[in-house]
Amino acid sequence: MSTLAGIVYLVATAFFIIGVKNLSKVRTARKGNQYAAIGMLIAIVVTLVEYAGLDWRIVIAGLLVGGGIGAWMAKRVEMTGMPELVALFNGVGGLASALVAGAEFWGKYLPNPFSKDFAPAAIPDGLSDQLGSSIWAVAVILSVLVGSVTFLGSLVAMGKLSGKISGNPVILPGRHVILGLIGVATLYAAYMTGFGGVAGGAAIGLIALAVLASVIGVLAVLPIGGADMPVVVSLLNSYSGIAASMAGFVIGNPLLITAGALVGAAGLILTMIMCKAMNRSLGNVLIGGFGGASAADDSRDYTNVKSSSPEEAAMVLEAAESVIFIPGYGMAVAQAQHVVKELGEELEKRGAEVRYAIHPVAGRMPGHMNVLLAESDVPYEQLWELERINGDFKNTDVTVIVGANDVVNPEAIDNPESPIAGMPILNAHESGTVLMIKRSLSPGYAGIRNPLFERENTLMCFGDGKEFLASILEELKDT
């Protein structure tokens, strides 16, 4: 790498750092993302200019195909499908890092791995310009390992987020034994890849390593309940950064090392912030099984549930002077964010104070609700975070819960045995009347029953969120 290229890489790194910094503030976030994108463009252009001997057909075809697919997916996605898409992008990033290491390893060490007359004793020095051969081999192994775990783990997370894979924790019998055996096999495959000294063995070892790591990725995410997927995606985001960083060691490129490490660390911090919002430790999330234990609880039927019609709900709202909306994933599924906003505006016109309470883990991703409400043009000032609004519920006439469940479950406070005990919730039950708009009495993502349904001051509004709210709105406008 020439000095000039090195310096330009440094500039790109600076763009990334400034970009992430700006991304963490509302006012500058969009600019931050653009800075990061500019950094990426610089990095790509310099690489193309700097490195001689690239196969241009591959480069151009790859850039066009990959860029086209990425742009198409980004344009097409609905805001509600965002969490799955982020998980998918994250996964392919990890896969790319694993492939980079694989291509380097294959290209430099195993040009023709299965031919009879090719059998090097060990990885010769000089394959990597900067590192010794054994360090290089370790970096290859780590890239493939972490990259593959990220890829398959992200795909499972995506499946759980989109409902294609059951959100329930899947616990295999004897999974610790299985994981132990896979762990041993992985170590052996890693040894054969870098240090076995047999060309065919190294090739098979590398493939086995990728397959085993993929299995680990699947087994690691399957036992984790759907409600914890945001944390998982965030952690996998951190992994994909680490994988990129390791790939940087493989090709001896400091830009990959720094940018990857940056994402690895930032992703980990974000993961911690999200765990804290649920009052759980990261270890507790990763061990999994959350939400499965209480399944037996569901058999206890609800008593004293009061169900309500749109007319009744409209009457309640008409009298209200202060209203708080609590959106949840159900709002996203029903695409109800626009009608929520219209209803909010109508109530404001009638002189009520309208606010939106956003639980930090409402929806399938932190900030998910903010994005949806922003899409429907709800003013930023009306969105309140949990700590700021929780004291106000007792002075609020009506709380309208749209497709949220676990984040308003008073079990978190009342029942120390509950799996969600200690999780901060929005104290909707303290308000005068609770209108709970929901399809049925089914439990939420965490799979536990919600005694809020049968509280004295709760009216259950069964139906599709969007239709129900639209009927309320019609009623209000008629009067």
């Binding site: 990959g66 990425g70 492939l99 985001n237 790939a247 940056l262």
Partner: protein, 95 residues
């Protein structure tokens, strides 16, 4: 050289920890998505591994690496921008 790389690696990790200590919940998803796009930096590695001297197997891997890394980069930045554009446009209306 290894020591130098490790230096850079560790310092970058510390920088990452320091960068985002306080983030409003609103920005968690865009930040995750934007950081994720940056991890697509592996595109640089993918381009370098498209070495003309490599054998067919390595070239196939290199090609796939470029495709997947580009999906991550282009898709990631665009989707993040789409999310953030919503915050921005609404602000302007308000002002």
């Amino acid at each position: 050289m290894l020591v130098l790389f490790l230096f850079v690696f560790v310092l970058a990790i510390f920088t990452g920890f320091e960068l985002i200590s306080k983030v409003p919940a609103t920005l968690h998803t865009p930040l995750m998505s934007g950081a994720n796009a940056i991890s697509g930096i592996t595109i640089v590695g993918a381009l370098i591994s498209a070495n003309a001297d490599f054998g067919t197997a390595a070239k196939v891997l290199g090609f796939l690496a470029i495709v997947f890394a580009m999906i991550n980069v282009v898709g990631g930045f665009m989707v993040t921008d789409r999310m953030l554009a919503m915050f921005a446009s609404k602000k302007k209306k308000k002002a």
